[in-house]
């Protein structure tokens, strides 16, 4: 803020500005802050979005001058995934906890309509984690590992024509959630004149489609001029390489072609140095601040509004979070009671119905039982009757048999002739 603005602001708040008569010493405050932050260590999270093979890992390696382990991904992943790796780096006495998140399989699928969704989901998930921590009763924000994405490097393919449709779609869905810095990847395939036209075309496409990319801040006088100039050179045309090539009597990071050597840190060859300056040396802290004060706050507001919290009540009176929370809790409680009642009723009803059905079944069963019993009785009586008759017949028959035998033996004794026997036989047959 300019000093006149500060003066006006103070006047409004009824604060007088005074001059001191000696040296007090609070000018060391920034240094104290710096010391504290050095002790704490810094944390920075970069998201790299780009097609498979476009050079994301190589560029990060070159930016941080380290060979982070990585391997080539396949072109045949069915969906887009995100891969995050965290590293601890140190430069002089400053410790940096760097998290690099890469897209895997971006731009490979035949149908790319859903390709941007996993990226959006990942960014939201990091915001959500932070929000949860912030809302905790016992929270430890001081030691919380902030995983929110501070910058998204979007790698544009160097076709020389314009953005790809996927690029437009993805950036439109990311620009309200993260600071986007678009870069032209593998820029050693675009000649100088082509590059000018290409950059102009890209920026005009972004502007005409309302894509908000990150602007280097111009409010701080010490860096405003540089930043403004850099803003005009976006998107940066970068070349990455960790190969060492001897040029003259120096060994530099470069790519050796049959027709020449592309030096990564030569500003005539590409914008790598500019990117490193802007991203790491000058504006890293601003990127973190923007993420926290702009993107995260937007996410938080939307999320809480979804949950039903507002800052202003129905009569336009400010509503405190606690009141809203209580109101919500009450509402939920009431809702829960009602649901419980409902379920109880339903349960009782069902039990009754079931009981009725079972009773009915029981009755039927009983009736059947009776019926069968009766039948059974009848059958038995019939059978008894039959048996009785049969027994009588048997008795009658055996009586007759007995008498005939006696008769037979008597007649045999009385006569001894065969004729008698024949007659008897005839008689017996007759009998």
């Amino acid at each position: 803020m300019a000093s006149s603005e500060v003066a006006r602001h103070l006047k409004r708040e009824n604060i007088r500005s005074l001059t001191m008569s000696g040296h007090v010493g609070f000018e060391s405050l920034p240094d104290q802050l710096v010391n504290r932050s050095i002790q704490q260590g810094f944390c920075f999270n970069i998201l790299c979005v780009g097609e498979t093979g476009i050079g994301k890992s190589t560029l990060i390696d070159t930016l941080f001058n380290t060979n982070f382990e990585d391997y080539e991904s396949s072109h045949f992943c069915p969906n887009v995934k995100l891969k995050a790796q965290t590293y601890e780096l140190q430069e002089s006495n400053v410790r940096l906890k760097l998290t690099i998140v890469n897209t895997v399989g971006f731009g490979d699928q035949i149908n790319k309509e859903e390709s941007y969704q996993p990226i959006v989901d990942y960014i939201d998930a990091q915001f959500e984690a932070y929000l949860q921590e912030e809302l905790k009763i016992k929270r430890s924000l001081f030691t919380y590992h902030d995983s929110r994405i501070h910058v998204c490097l979007y790698f544009i393919s160097p076709t020389g024509h314009s953005l790809k449709t996927l690029d437009l779609l993805t950036m439109k869905n990311l620009d309200s959630k993260v600071n986007i810095i678009p870069v032209i990847a593998k820029a050693d395939t675009v000649s100088k004149t082509e590059l000018q036209e290409f950059k102009i075309k890209l920026m005009s496409e972004l502007v005409s489609n309302g894509v908000q990319i990150y602007q280097f801040p111009t409010d701080d006088d010490t860096i405003a001029k540089d930043n403004a100039a850099m803003n005009g050179l976006l998107p940066f045309a970068v070349v990455g390489s960790m190969d060492a090539v001897k040029v003259g009597n120096k060994v530099v990071k470069a790519r050796q072609y049959p027709w020449g050597v592309v030096q990564v840190e030569n500003e005539n060859h590409c914008d790598f140095v500019k990117l490193r300056e802007m991203l790491i040396c000058t504006n890293m802290e601003d990127l973190r601040e923007q993420t926290h004060t702009r993107h995260y706050e937007l996410y938080r507001r939307c999320k809480l509004e979804e949950m039903g919290f507002t800052d202003v009540g129905p009569e336009n009176k400010p509503v405190s979070l606690q009141e809203t929370y209580e109101a919500k809790r009450h509402e939920f409680h009431g809702e829960r009671q009602r649901k419980e009642e409902e379920m109880k009723q339903m349960f009782v009803q069902r039990v009754k119905e079931k009981e009725a059905i079972l009773k009915e079944a029981e009755r039927e069963l009983q009736a059947k039982f009776e019926h069968l019993k009766r039948l059974h009785q009848e059958e038995r009586m019939k059978l008894e009757e039959k048996r009785r008759l049969l027994e009588e017949e048997i008795i009658a028959f055996s009586k007759k048999k007995a008498t005939s035998e006696i008769f037979h033996s008597q007649s045999f004794l009385a006569t001894g002739s065969n004729l008698r026997k024949d007659k008897d036989r005839k008689n017996s047959n007759f009998l």
Partner: protein, 354 residues
Amino acid sequence: DKQDIDKQYVGFATLPNQVHRKSVKKGFDFTLMVAGESGLGKSTLVHSLFLTDLYKDRKLLSAEERISQTVEILKHTVDIEEKGVKLKLTIVDTPGFGDAVNNTECWKPITDYVDQQFEQYFRDESGLNRKNIQDNRVHCCLYFISPFGHGLRPVDVGFMKALHEKVNIVPLIAKADCLVPSEIRKLKERIREEIDKFGIHVYQFPECDSDEDEDFKQQDRELKESAPFAVIGSNTVVEAKGQRVRGRLYPWGIVEVENQAHCDFVKLRNMLIRTHMHDLKDVTCDVHYENYRAHCIQQMTSKLTQDSRMESPIPILPLPTPDAETEKLIRMKDEELRRMQEMLQRMKQQMQDQ
């Protein structure tokens, strides 16, 4: 003895000359299709190959416009002449291929186009007046593979598999000036592996005769080993080492399109135009077209036996001899027909007698 030699001389050794003369008089035609995502340098390469600008009035679409763009087929035909030999060159462009967000089956308009040309030729060939048949069949398709990845992508595999049995596919690594020599080697190897793995049939250079000289055989070997060609195109002329060459000017050096140490452009040009142009045409006629024709006829005859009332739009040429299986079926059906006819006769008799 001279008289003996005269008697031995018949004169048909001049046939090649006669063929040459007649062909010069007739002129040649060639249809080349170029396919690949936009921004891979297709038009620049065509310009470099044929040294004419076919795309003067081209309008490039912006990203927004391309989101739901469909694939178009654009034909540019030019007549060019060199030392008395006339060539009618047709370039078939495929703008929009692979550019939309959803590219499912984006090669369908292209396969339809190729089939249509085959069908047209088939009709013409089977027609009564065959004096002026125009051959619009696609003789070769240059497919541009992006050099920014690690190898083939799903859309590349999908396209090539849809077209490899219909047209000669020559895959190229586009914009090869973004790859250092070791990267080019690795990428070529990877692409060759993947082409094998996915069972894609790209155009194979024919074997050279065993009685050719060593130089020629060496050249042929080098050609085969360089596939897929890593190409760079340019429509600007720059000054390099005191000479004016076609190339691209960078702050770190000049890429010369026709320098064999820089890229395979010369190999591609020689193969496509100077040595294999006619072979590409021959393979198209003898293999791809014949496959199409046989398939077409089979489909038509199977349809005819199902529905004998259908009029065939094209006069049917004599069927190839059917195999044992089909013969048996035919005989059975004949038997059945005969029996039915006899029955009908008998019934008729009966009715008459009554």
